[in-house]
């Protein structure tokens, strides 16, 4: 079984894993970081989005071995020094979550979206959310939260 090593939320993590282990399984089962969720088996729902070397990636589409040496940030690593990331704060302020299951993936996607496209408008946010499914909110307040966070982070 290959040994994979990576940095997760600033800490080094290393484990023997079966070659077929997905990154999301490594994060949830090996590291016990259960904030990253699995909502489908076809890489559509986006509940498992984490950052791999600064880019949003669906951690169900990647083998843990492919992330060997990478710098991973999960939802648990987003707040710094007890302070919420502006996107996390905006999701709460604008009621961008209900059941909370899609939320970690939504937030990680939104952080990456704002990094790539600082001048977001509603249409762009909706297009960019193509890979994240929410069944509770109708996206109305998620879009609002992302736009508000993007304004704040400008």
């Amino acid at each position: 079984m290959p040994v994979v090593s990576m940095t997760v939320n600033g800490k080094s993590a290393s484990a023997d894993v079966e070659a077929r282990t997905l990154l999301v399984q490594f994060i949830r089962e090996q590291l016990g970081l259960t904030g990253t969720h699995v909502g489908c088996d076809t890489s559509q729902c986006g509940a498992c989005v984490v950052h791999v070397d600064g880019r949003a990636v669906k951690s169900c589409t990647m083998l843990a071995a492919q992330a060997d040496g990478a710098d991973i940030v999960t939802i648990e690593g987003l707040a710094k020094n007890g302070e919420l990331h502006p996107v996390q704060a905006a999701f709460r302020e604008h009621h961008g979550l209900q059941c909370g299951f899609c939320t970690p993936g939504m937030i990680m996607t939104a952080v990456d979206m704002i990094r790539r496209k600082p001048d977001l408008d509603e249409e762009t946010v909706r297009e960019e959310l193509e890979g994240n499914i929410c069944r509770c909110t109708g996206y109305h307040n998620i879009v609002k939260a992302i736009l508000a966070a993007s304004r704040e982070m400008r």
Partner: protein, 793 residues
């Protein structure tokens, strides 16, 4: 500081208490929980819609690496376990009870839908369990399937259950047939419409999951599961399935990632996990993957209906008659018989004064997954039928759709409909007027011609809906066939330091109860919101409760809390009277302070709380120490949320793509505790309604019974770019039947929106009807065969 001044009271958009754990990745969903020595379950499912099981050979699989045990239907039956039940008995018009086929936890000799449960493999890892399941040799005798709703009642159709000839579970009726026929006989005009209400697959984002455990020392079973109503699950698992006596079974529904009805029901997998945990002597974990969820979660809707509306020459409705065939799937699910009957037929009067209504519903079995309540449950089907035929009547009579509705609105309350319901209050004209104003109805013709200049087809559609929430009273639903009471419980525990725990039988899986329930308690007791904890979802903590569905948690769950708070206040005043040496009638409780009227004597909430537990300052023979009160609240009537949704669409005739340009929803929910949360509920409901109207369709192949739409590649979930931002408004009439005046908001969006959207699409296309979902392919096809009138417009 009073709650109103601090912005935490009733009516304030308080930010949610539960959000911190969800936005930081600290939620605890069932799949996040693991136990030492835990094993994993995988279910081998039927690849056939209908087959006889000739034999199951598990010997090779049992020898596979990591396998702990394999269970089949034979093991379950030999252990004396009962099957899954339907908790509502519907009686046919001939007086006979519905015809129920057995619903085994694991199939015994026949499988009845693709995904039906054949065997359970328990292994050291999920991968081991999956691999071993592949090695189970099942010898099937594949049989023809009755997978088509329209054909399943034919004499030649394959039979799902021998107990139900022609696959008919019940032939139910409601209303007055003779009066309806008489009204049709004298009608000036009769409008007819055939409608399909498309099958939907609920798709809460968290798949179902279970973690079953057995403590050999105490004989206590524990089941962590994705449930909307853990107490009902425990009752069914103990009293009917016989897994364990009720006091030896603990069911915990921790954070649950959405339900929409699909997590009300007691399913085979959860049952098997907790039962088998004792057999293998180790915890058993199971989490559905999405493909399993598509196959085995209870689906929603799936009706075929014929409706006729009789009008007089002035457009006044005289009578409505409806014949519906409702798909129940292969087995009756927990509440499935109630959905197309008492949750459907009773709402067919809509917002209208219709003197006579008569509805017949055939509930039928097919070789498809069970169908049960999905957001709205019967009421979306009723609203779709009523609002589609009213819109059609407007077009056929040439009366403006708003005007036709106005002519027929119920205007005096209470109003007894011909189909059981007694509407308590409402103002339908007010929500219609507000919605028309918000969408600028007057400006629509100009927008339509502007769109036409760009080559686009613009349409507008109305939906004036009513629904019934907080299903009740218990005695009434019992007389209609319910196997349970539909009250709710609450317990308020004041701690010696003055902070408060509230135990509720409601369950929150996205609705924000930890915030709204706390708002109620904080404002009533004058304590900060942060000092109130809402406890739910654990049968060891909350004694009993009926759970959350049918938009009942505000109107029923919070009413129970009000009752418990009344008792807390009454006892606290007695204690305060002793402590301040005054008569109890002179004690005033306001903003968390007890005062003696006309004096400067006062006592803070925390002082009183401590005094209640030290019991030094009052005669404990007369007043018991402590401050803890419980209550059960049984509603005296349903609540009747209502409103008007208007949708404006633009269709590209080249591609058939429908774009929702504007969506206005004006709802009357009575008292609103937290408008931010209520609006969120409406947003989500509308999105699911847009899904039904334009995108989503659960399709089985009519011949083979294979599920064609079994993944997110094939079943079109609404994405952010399929939806507009929504324009919401409220009008308010206070519900007279509960102490807070609340109605219920969780399902309104899903109930109201589909007819508004389809009325808009058919208006844009100039056609009578289009089947849901109105996909680009269907719209484009309709345009190719449209009448010259539509083409010319």
């Amino acid at each position: 500081m009073s709650d109103a001044a601090s912005g935490e009271g009733i009516g304030q958009p308080v930010r949610r208490k539960e959000d911190f754990r969800f936005i930081t990745g600290n939620g605890h969903y069932t799949d996040d929980i693991n136990r030492p020595r835990q094993t994993w379950a995988y279910f081998l499912r039927s690849p056939h819609a209908h087959a006889r099981i000739k034999s199951i050979d598990t010997s090779a699989a049992e020898a596979a690496p990591g396998v702990v045990a394999i269970f089949t239907g034979r093991h379950v039956a030999d252990d004396g376990l009962g099957g899954l039940i339907c908790g509502w008995t519907v009686t046919s018009k001939d007086g006979t009870p519905m015809k129920v086929g057995p619903h085994p936890i694991l199939a015994l000799d026949t499988v009845r839908y693709v995904g039906d449960h054949v065997a359970m493999v328990v292994a050291e890892t999920l991968a081991d369990a999956r691999a071993a399941a592949e090695m189970i040799d099942v010898d099937y005798d594949a049989l023809p399937a009755a997978a088509s709703l329209s054909a399943c009642q034919n004499a030649a159709a394959p039979q799902v259950h021998p107990e139900a000839p022609r696959n008919t579970c019940f032939e139910w009726e409601l209303g007055n047939k003779a009066e309806t026929e008489a009204a049709f006989a004298k009608a000036g005009r009769i409008v007819k419409l055939d409608l399909k209400n498309n099958r939907l697959i609920p798709n809460a984002m968290e798949p179902r999951a279970a973690l079953g455990e057995f403590d050999k020392g105490t004989g206590i079973y524990t089941l962590h599961t994705t449930s909307q109503n853990p107490h009902v699950a425990r009752l069914v698992l103990s009293a009917f399935v016989g897994v364990a006596p009720e006091h030896k079974l603990r069911v915990i529904a921790p954070d649950v990632g959405g339900g929409f009805g699909s997590k009300i029901f007691i399913y085979a997998e959860e049952t098997a996990c907790v039962w088998a945990a004792a057999k293998v002597g180790r915890p058993i974990k199971w989490t559905a993957d999405r493909s399993e969820a598509f196959l085995s979660d209870a689906h929603g809707r799936d009706h075929l209906s014929h409706a006729e509306l009789a009008l007089d020459k002035d457009g006044k409705f005289l009578a409505l008659r409806v014949k519906t065939v409702a798909n129940l799937g292969a087995y009756l699910s927990t509440f499935s018989a109630s959905v197309p009957t008492y949750l459907y037929g009773t709402l067919l009067s809509g917002q209208y004064d219709i003197p006579a209504v008569y509805v017949e519903v055939d509930g039928v079995y097919t070789h498809t997954a069970p169908v049960d309540a999905y957001r709205g449950a019967g009421r979306p089907e009723a609203t779709y039928l009523v609002e589609r035929i009213v819109e059609t009547a407007a077009r056929e009579t040439g009366i403006d759709p708003a005007e036709l509705r106005r002519r027929n609105y119920i205007r005096t309350f209470p109003h007894q409909t011909p189909v059981i319901m007694n509407y308590d209050t409402g103002d339908y004209e007010a929500s219609l007027a507000a919605a028309m104003e918000a969408i600028d109805y007057k400006g629509f013709p100009a927008r339509k011609s502007e769109a036409a200049k760009r080559g686009k087809l613009r349409g507008i559609g109305f939906s004036s809906y009513i629904e019934a929430c907080g299903i009740a009273p218990s005695a009434a639903v019992g007389s209609l066939g319910a196997g349970v009471g539909l009250w709710e419980s609450a317990e308020v525990r004041v701690n010696p330091t003055g902070n408060v725990e509230v135990l509720t039988g409601s369950h929150s899986h996205g609705q924000g109860h930890e915030t709204t329930f706390a708002q109620l308690v904080a404002s009533r007791l004058g304590v900060p919101l942060a000092n109130v904890e809402i406890v739910h979802g654990d049968t060891d903590k909350v004694q009993f409760g009926m759970g959350t569905y049918g938009s009942r948690s505000g109107a029923v769950g919070m009413s129970a809390i009000v009752k418990a708070l009344d008792k807390i206040e009454a006892k606290a005043k007695k204690i305060a009277a002793h402590l301040m040496e005054a008569a109890v009638e002179d004690i005033v409780f306001e903003n968390g302070t007890f005062t003696v009227q006309g004096t400067d004597k006062s006592l803070a909430w925390a002082e009183l709380s401590l005094a209640a537990y030290t019991a030094h300052g009052f005669p404990s023979g007369e007043i018991e120490p402590g401050l803890k009160e419980g209550a059960f609240y049984d509603p005296v009537n349903f609540t009747f949320p209502s409103g008007c949704h208007i949708c404006e669409v633009e269709i590209d005739p080249d591609t058939g793509v429908t774009k929702i340009e504007k969506f206005v929803a004006v709802d009357d929910f009575g008292t609103v505790i937290n408008p931010m949360i209520v609006e969120g509920q409406v947003h989500g409901g509308i999105a699911q309604g847009v899904g039904q109207a334009l995108l989503e369709h659960g399709i089985y192949d009519a011949e083979s019974g294979q599920l064609i739409t079994g993944s997110y590649m094939d079943y079109c979930m609404p994405r952010a770019d399929d939806l507009p931002s929504f324009d919401l408004g409220f009008t308010t009439t206070i519900c007279p039947s509960n102490p807070l005046g609340m109605k219920g908001c969780g399902e309104a969006g899903a109930i109201a929106s589909p007819p508004a959207i389809i009325n808009a699409v058919t208006d844009a296309l100039g056609i009578r009807d289009i089947e849901m979902p109105a996909t680009p392919a269907r719209v484009w096809t309709a345009l190719q065969s449209a009448t010259p009138r539509a083409a010319a417009e």
